[in-house]
């Protein structure tokens, strides 16, 4: 079965207006605390930064106007699935709640944080916000988590569990998250979203394991997005450590670049401990 990337977005607060990713400009992105400007303010009060960034990325990928909201009482769309990827989205809240209990007892915590101490809060929040009633998965697999999310999205389409998959990768950069990742490249808050459907758009190959950071294609791709040495677009070197967001970010950037230029992109994501995953994107147009 063919899987296609039919829409994409990248949400990178702090990226300058003239800055590009391999020549593609993802557009301006507000910080999580300003997310109400795009999403509308109601309902954001207890949403963590990672959830807000994820909602912004999905909103942009769906091409919705600012402030657009799901209709009140509108039934969920059973054919749209959500697959989210994040490793650190709710670690700050979890630790803060544990600390508040130790310092002040249970009265020191807010019951409104209940969804946030469960690691699936990002995936379920996207479903509730936009009304997606299909399968809902939260992937927390470490470095390859973003491509694991893309792989599971493809599986949901192939198995007929969904007709459309909204895959979103996100990571925050709060001090707790940053400390947990140290030492290493600095953590960078980022979100990206790709929409997967059975046809149209940029064709996505099945995600497979890769032996290491460099993957040798038989047909040389136009672009390599990953840590693979000379000429590759290494988004970690370019932006910082986006961890669970990276795989989705790579696919979004790859789709955007192929949409402009045609050709094919090889994507590799992972690390020696968690393992590497790879996929290939192909445009119907030859490279220009």
């Amino acid at each position: 079965m063919t899987i296609a990337v039919t829409s994409w977005s990248v949400w990178l607060p702090g990226l300058g207006p003239a800055e590009t990713l391999g020549g593609w400009s993802p557009g301006p992105a507000c910080r999580p605390e300003e997310a109400g400007e795009l999403l509308g303010r109601k309902g954001l009060l207890n949403k963590e930064p990672a959830t807000r960034l994820a909602l912004c990325a999905v909103h942009r990928a769906l091409g919705l106007p600012p402030g657009h909201r799901r209709g009140r009482g509108a039934p969920p769309d059973p054919d749209t699935a959500v697959v989210a990827s994040s490793n650190l989205g709710n670690v700050h809240t979890t630790c803060a709640v544990a600390r508040a209990v130790r310092d002040q007892g249970v009265r020191g915590v807010s019951p409104l944080d209940a969804p946030n101490v469960s690691s699936n809060v990002i995936a379920s929040s996207v479903a509730i916000w936009f009304g997606f009633g299909g399968p809902n998965l939260m992937v927390c697999s470490g470095h390859p988590s973003g491509l694991d999310a893309i792989a599971l999205g493809g599986l949901l389409l192939a198995s007929g569990r969904a007709r459309r998959v909204v895959a979103v990768g996100v990571e925050p950069d709060d001090p707790i998250a940053a400390a947990l990742c140290a030492p290493g490249p600095p953590l960078r808050q980022a979100a990206a979203c790709v929409v997967l459907e059975p046809s149209g758009g940029i064709v996505l190959d099945r995600v497979t394991e890769a032996a290491g950071p460099v993957f040798r294609d038989e047909a040389t791709p136009t672009i390599v997005i990953g840590p693979g040495g000379d000429g590759a677009l290494d988004l970690t070197r370019r932006l910082g450590h986006t961890y669970g967001a990276l795989g989705v970010l790579q696919v979004a950037v790859g789709a955007a670049l192929l949409h402009e230029r045609g050709g094919a992109a090889r994507i590799v994501c992972g690390d020696p401990t968690d393992g590497y995953r790879t996929t290939r994107l192909t445009s119907a147009r030859t490279a220009s």
Binding site: V91, V109, V117, S118, N120, I128, V139, C140
Partner: protein, 376 residues
């Protein structure tokens, strides 16, 4: 088509065989909370997995260790102690190693980001166990892992996949239970009119899922798992979502409600969840004659979060094998919403069950309902 080749669990009542035996005799694993300040949490009890080292302090990375033990045991039971080829592992978990993150932040216990999930630890069992994908889907996480494992074998992505689940109690989740409780609950009483709320259990489970070409042992036939999201509320259940999830699972399994002999209910012992699940079961099985026997394990082993679906699966397999269904521990007077339902209370019942359904519902409205059939 897929089968459960083997299954392993670790609960507060012991391994799979021991847990089932103690469920049949109506035992309850509730015990005072350890390693956390119960008075500050307004939660006094849980269903702890006791182990060596507990007496001197909280052992590190418990969820990880139980998971690895269960994966190893399930593979061994399936005759795959040394897997001949690549075996992907899907780990369902509600809380990952967030307890370790709490201890890292508060007490300075060592932790690396990669220890929040399970690839490194599972990979140490065998290099063939890859990739290891961690799916953090709240209280139905291991049901989701089972659905994905079946999809993978049926779509030729692997011949054998391990679906697993694991969770250890976090202080932050306990705090959310304590924050909304008038007074601490002393036990979980699923579907009881006088139920007073949920308590956390802990432990792990693993099931080896194999496809058509499998020639090894078979514990049960895996007919199908429906997965869906209510897209309704962050923490509250939806009647439409839950009944829809059960109908979807039965449709995927190719079975009618009247074919189901036993349901392993989610049954968390909270006011809203049990009432909603009971109403949904009444709706789905309205035209199914006397209806299936209903049981639930959380009164005996607590709410084991991401591991709970596969723990219920292990119990369901043993129900089909033994023809016995354990009682709902803690159930004395059923809630009014369960009027007309055949909840097993007091003592176990005997029934020649062929088809069992396993319900799992989680925060965020994430539903996973599995239907299995006795081995041929």
């Amino acid at each position: 088509m897929a089968v459960i080749a083997a299954s392993a669990v670790r609960t507060c009542l012991g391994d799979g065989a021991r847990t089932f035996e103690r469920l049949l005799s109506g035992e309850c694993g509730v015990a005072p909370l350890r390693h956390v300040d119960a008075a500050r949490l307004n939660v006094s009890h849980g269903y702890p997995v006791l182990e060596r080292g507990d007496a001197v302090g909280e052992p590190a990375l418990r969820a990880t260790r139980w998971l690895v033990e269960c994966v190893a045991e399930a593979l061994c039971s399936a005759g795959l102690a040394a897997p001949p080829g690549r075996v992907p592992v899907i780990v369902g978990t509600g809380l990952r190693e967030l307890r370790a993150a709490e201890r890292w932040a508060l007490d300075g216990e060592p932790l690396r980001a990669q220890q929040l999930h399970f690839a490194a630890a599972v990979g140490e069992l065998s290099a063939a166990l890859r990739p290891v994908v961690t799916v953090s889907n709240a209280c139905s996480a291991s049901g989701h892992a089972l659905a994905l494992a079946q999809d993978m074998v049926e779509h030729g992505e692997a011949e054998i996949v391990v679906a697993a689940g694991t969770d250890a109690t976090t202080a932050s989740m306990l705090a959310m239970i304590g924050r909304v409780a008038e007074r601490p609950t002393d036990s979980v009483r699923p579907f009881d009119a006088a139920r007073t709320g949920v308590l956390l259990g802990e432990g792990a489970a693993a099931a080896v899922v194999a496809g058509d070409g499998w020639r090894g042992p078979v514990a049960a036939v895996l007919l199908g798992t429906g997965i869906s999201c209510d897209a309704y509320h962050e923490t509250a259940p939806s009647l439409a979502g839950i009944s829809g999830a059960m109908r979807d699972a039965l449709a995927r399994a190719g079975r009618r409600p009247a074919d189901v002999d036993v349901v392993l209910c989610h049954g968390t012992g909270t006011v809203l969840n049990d009432a909603t699940e009971a109403l949904a079961i009444r709706e789905v099985f309205a035209d199914a004659g006397a209806g299936p026997w209903l049981t639930a394990v959380k009164g005996a082993i607590g709410h084991t979060s991401g591991a709970s679906a596969l723990m219920s699966l292990d119990v369901a397999v043993r129900c089909l094998d033994s023809g016995r269904v354990p009682p709902v521990v803690g159930l004395r007077e059923p809630l009014p919403e369960a009027d007309g339902l055949r909840l097993v209370a007091g003592t176990s019942v005997r029934c020649a069950a062929r088809v069992a359904q396993i319900n799992a519902f989680g925060f965020g409205g994430v539903n996973a309902v599995t239907v299995i059939e006795a081995r041929p």
